[in-house]
Subunit: 192 residues, 2 copies
Amino acid sequence: MEFVGSVVRGVASLTQAMEDGRTQMVGLLLPSDFVGRPGRDSAAYDVVATTDLVMCCFRKKPFEDMMVRTPHIAQRLLEMTLDELDAAREWMLVLGRKTAREKIASLLSIIARRDATLNLAGVEGPLEFDLPLTREAMADYLGLTLETVSRQVNALKRDGVIDLVGKRHVIVPDFDRLSEEAGDDSDGGMLS
Amino acid sequence: MEFVGSVVRGVASLTQAMEDGRTQMVGLLLPSDFVGRPGRDSAAYDVVATTDLVMCCFRKKPFEDMMVRTPHIAQRLLEMTLDELDAAREWMLVLGRKTAREKIASLLSIIARRDATLNLAGVEGPLEFDLPLTREAMADYLGLTLETVSRQVNALKRDGVIDLVGKRHVIVPDFDRLSEEAGDDSDGGMLS
DNA sequence: CGTCAACTTGATGCTATTCAACTTTGGTGG
DNA sequence: CCACCAAAGTTGAATAGCATCAAGTTGACG
């Protein structure tokens, strides 16, 4: 990898594969995410664009030089890396302990939240967004098969947790309901 | 969390839990690992010692001040965090895509490797170490139940991949064999 | 020698996978 | 404009793998 940079528009995925073809997505790169590993040569993972993608890139070497000269940048990068580490660990809980339905709900919840904050919408009222992933990509992210993804997405639709327009456009009428389904259950017992 | 520090002796675990009790270990802290989150107050996870533990601690505030004054430290910390991120992502593949048997083999493989590098032993000949984790802790790390852990550990023993002395002391006669079982299959096809 | 936590083992059921067929969608060229 | 195709997605039936529940067993320690 000759470059580092950050995603401006579109979605890319970071995947890891075994020789027999089993694949796990280990990172979802949405707009504003940083890509690359200053101080490392090894490209440990495959980076693949899953939609049309616009990135803002720097040659790695000059960037690293700048890092050494500008302590602020290293500190900012450390913060971003800690955020990524948090995200990775949150995802470990999803992969290790959640059911298929909860996994789907978790993914939709994350994308919805990201999309909402980016599009300056409040968390009130129905959220709405396009899935930037195929069913197969979702399966690779969630540690499921694409068939199971399909079944559970449609189950959530049948149960009114989400609504679908076509196969990719998702409407979330009640975000708290989705969070419950994800097992995140943020609010606990709100009133009394 | 008032402190940051690093593990000197013993093992601690970083876990995340859902309200209903499901638990996922998101990090295994072995000697030389760093603990804590400079620049963050939130204690996002539970840190629990799983054996007797000796740590080398600093109060967080002075440590952060030192970080600002000494760019080197921030850069070293960034490297360590990137390593942790790699480890977390490797573990995502384990959690998402590996079978119970492969998960067990992966865990043993990691502990064996860590233990070997720490005890300055080569990777040749039989490796030998004590499991620093109960079956339940292993289950929480692997996203399995403790019963499945027990069954698969004993299956690996029956198949001669490992040998057990008591319930905790593990002997690995052939590390490559263990790697194969873990699905890591490093060597591929060595001779022709 | 009794007790408790860690661990093992067995029987059963459920969830997600597997394999296979089928449908929908969007794009291409006749 | 429509027939055709490939890629994406859906659906069904059968099965495997792990979870669950329920007894046991072992080993360390008072």
